[in-house]
Amino acid sequence: MERVFMKLPFGVGEPTEVDATPEALIPKMVAGWTQCPPPELPEEVIEDVDR
């Protein structure tokens, strides 16, 4: 099932994945949640690199 990222009302907190169905989306949209881009993944740091 497809999921979308949404953020809490007033932009508080981290984006949350929500099922992209009307039953899941509509109550959240009415409560003030808005769609947002997926969060950026943290940059991976590789410490042991072959030279």
């Binding site: 979308v4 509509i26 109550p27 009415v30």
Partner: protein, 346 residues
């Protein structure tokens, strides 16, 4: 000199939303669609004069002043998945996009500032052209428009006219001439005919019982037009105080939804009973082109405000006006539209 015919009109408008009221859609975000009504969205200049002022020795005007600009227009179209997605997203104001080509899904609800949403509706640009270029007759773009309201009308009969949408829009007053837009190719639309209707109102399936005759449902934003002119809202020509003021914002006012329908009335019909009991339920209106193109409007809680017996084509019918009400979980209304076009109100 060749006569310009109304059939030459090209219209295009923002499929995507503007970044703000003053920044026009770029051509990549504009699509070309057809319409049924010939009326143009003419910019209207409001002026004042000095006739009433003393000191000039008479009562006649000697000078005029450009006060402000108004833009408004109407789109009347046969209902399609594409225009339905656009009207619901821009008209209700809040949209979540999901899916991938050829099936994008736009889930739309009204904005609720109490829960952190904006009070301004999403903006789009509206372009009208008649012979743009060297032989131009008209070429202008109204910047910063919002949907004032939409009306879906469904009737009995096989023709396209039995499934229509009318969208009213108003603008900030800002007009760019020439538009600077090279109109894209027309978008092929997937019609949502009346014969595809699925309808359930207050617990009754009006399609399976073959009783529905006609239906009309609408949404109105009652945009605060005067509130758009605030100190500093700006001018038609930036920094030119003689060019006439334009609106710096377009916010919704007290919004209103309506739903009314006519159905055959027979033994066992419950409309009059439900009127007396004020029973409540949902109203779900669905129209389909195919698995990837459809519209579903849900009034989350309605009761019957009036239900009156009458006749249609010699048959006993009941005409019902519904009252859309607020549901604590799902709000007042939602629309879920599937179509193959990406980027609507994005």
């Amino acid at each position: 000199m060749s006569t310009a015919r109304m059939q030459e009109i090209l219209i295009g408008f923002g499929k995507g939303k503007q970044t703000d009221i003053a920044t026009a859609n770029l051509v990549a975000a504009i699509w070309q669609l057809k319409k049924l009504n010939a009326a143009l969205a003419n910019p209207k200049l409001n002026t004042e004069d000095d006739a009433e002022e003393f000191g000039k020795g008479h009562e006649f005007p000697t000078q005029t002043f450009k006060t402000s600009w108004d833009v408004s227009g109407t789109l009347e179209k046969y209902l399609s998945a594409e225009i339905a997605a656009w009207a619901m997203a821009f008209g209700l104001g809040k949209v979540v996009k999901s899916g991938t080509t050829p099936n994008f899904t736009y889930t739309c609800t009204p904005l609720f500032p109490a829960n952190g949403d904006a009070a301004e509706l999403p903006y789009f640009s509206f372009v009208e052209q008649i012979r743009p270029g060297a032989g131009v007759v008209a070429d202008r773009m109204a910047v910063g428009c919002v949907v004032e309201g939409w009306t879906l009308s469904l009737g009995s009969g096989p023709g396209r006219a039995n499934s229509k949408i009318t969208v009213e829009f108003v603008g900030s007053g800002k007009v760019t001439e020439p538009s600077g837009i090279t109109m894209p190719a027309a978008t092929l639309e997937k019609l949502l005919p009346s014969a595809s209707l699925a309808l359930s109102i207050n617990g009754v399936n009006y399609v399976s019982n073959k009783n529905i005759v006609s239906l009309e449902t609408s949404w109105k934003n009652n945009v605060r037009l005067d509130g758009g002119f605030y100190p500093g809202s700006g001018f038609q020509s930036p920094a030119d105080a003689t060019s006439g003021a334009i609106r710096g914002r377009l916010e919704f006012g007290n919004r209103q939804g309506t739903l009314k329908f006519v159905a055959r009335f027979e033994n066992g019909s419950t409309e009059l009973t439900k009127l007396k009991s004020q029973a409540t339920g949902t109203a779900v209106i669905s129209l389909t082109y195919d698995a990837n193109n459809s519209l579903e409007v849900t009034w989350q809680k309605i009761s019957f405000a009036t239900a009156e017996l009458g006749e249609t084509d010699g048959l006993v019918t009941v005409s019902v006006d519904c009252l859309p009400m607020w549901d604590e979980t799902n709000g007042i209304v939602s629309a879920v539209v599937e179509c193959g076009v990406d980027g609507i109100c994005q």
